[in-house]
Amino acid sequence: MNPAFGYLYDDFLSDRRFERDLGVLETELSRRGIQGQVGKLAMFRSAREMIVDMACAGVKNIVFVGNDKTLEKMMWFLPDVDVTIGYLPLAEPSQIGNLLAIPMGLGAVDILAARFIESFDVGKLDDRYFFTEVVVPSTTAALEIEGQYRVTPTRGGAIAIRNLGSISGKSAVSADGQDGWLEAVIQTPTEDGYRLFGSSPIAETHIRLKYGQLISKEPMDVFMDGHAVNGFVFRLSIVPHKLKIITGRRGGLLAEKEKV
């Protein structure tokens, strides 16, 4: 057992369908000498407590085993825990895996074993962290940028604030999660747009920002890393290089190679 590694299995992996995959995975981790303490997430078990306990016990690398939802559940507090994050996607969706160049299944063990670490920015919506993006669908809310100017979709539209990128579509779209900037994307329907297969063409506004505010006269639903919150005003900001993640993206500018 390698004391520097800890693994957190998502709840859904207790399904018998994953028994064989987990067995193969554990054998491979053992063969590579990076097997470690295992925790299993469950409905009435605090993931935060489990992670903090592992960190206090000397675990330096906590690896999440599951899918994107597993990581998304942790992101609101994870940047405050002093550990390096690993990701072993065993099921779809695994778009975050795509953005971090981590393949699904056994291939991810190679990435873990190589332990190539990159530091990433994290976004903040009020006091909660987000890693991928914040989305306000179908809104007339305004985005105030750095106290300087205000951007409003005049006929309504969708507003997304991206850090690492977008993972809610069929394929992941990357933003630069290491540049110290958030990217605002505002999608508006075009006035003279023709309809094709029921969808009208959209125009896209792109603006980079360090901080800002989402402001709406009506209460708005905001989805951060897939989780919904509701309100009239939300503060946005970015915390540079807050999260260390083991990735498969060799050659990243801010990457640092560390040995266990």
Binding site: R150, T154, G157, S166, T205, H206, R208
Partner: protein, 148 residues
């Protein structure tokens, strides 16, 4: 908790580089400043400044004093325009305000109403004049505020 907002009018499949884009159907109000290239197809009210290349699309409507590194204008600008290097004015452009640039190309059909200054000396003279008048304006605003 909910899942990602699929079917909610947000298409996550798009991506873009470092250029700032203000698309149609979007209004910008306030003091816009940027270091990168900017493409405007929507509307801008207030002041506008970029160190990079400004492209004003045919549908764009700008009611602002504009300051840019270089510019290509096909839409409407109501305000003074200062361009550090080259300004290209297309046939569909309408500019109501004073224009200064190091070099200018104007296509037949473009509408310009205002004074025009060409050459690097002209640009620096207009820029320093704009700074002085800006300081005067801020000074008078401060005076009004302190009086009130």
């Amino acid at each position: 908790m909910f899942n990602s907002p699929k079917g909610s009018g947000y298409d996550s499949s798009s991506g873009q580089g470092a250029t700032t884009i203000i698309a149609r159907g979007v209004k910008v109000e306030g003091e816009f400043t940027s270091q990168s290239d900017v493409l405007i197809e929507g509307s801008v009210h207030g002041t506008f400044s970029t160190a990079g290349m400004l492209t004003v699309g045919t549908e764009a409507k700008i009611k602002a004093d504009v300051n840019a590194g270089s510019a290509l204008v096909s839409g409407t600008i109501e305000g003074n325009v200062i361009v550090g290097k080259h300004l290209e004015v297309k046939s569909t452009a309408k500019i109501s305000g004073d224009v200064s640039a190091e070099t200018i190309t104007i296509e037949s059909g473009a509408i310009l109403s205002g004074r025009m200054s060409i050459g690097s000396k002209a640009v620096s003279a207009v820029e320093s004049e704009a700074k002085v008048s800006g300081r005067r304006e801020r000074g008078s605003t401060a005076a009004v505020l302190s009086e009130s």
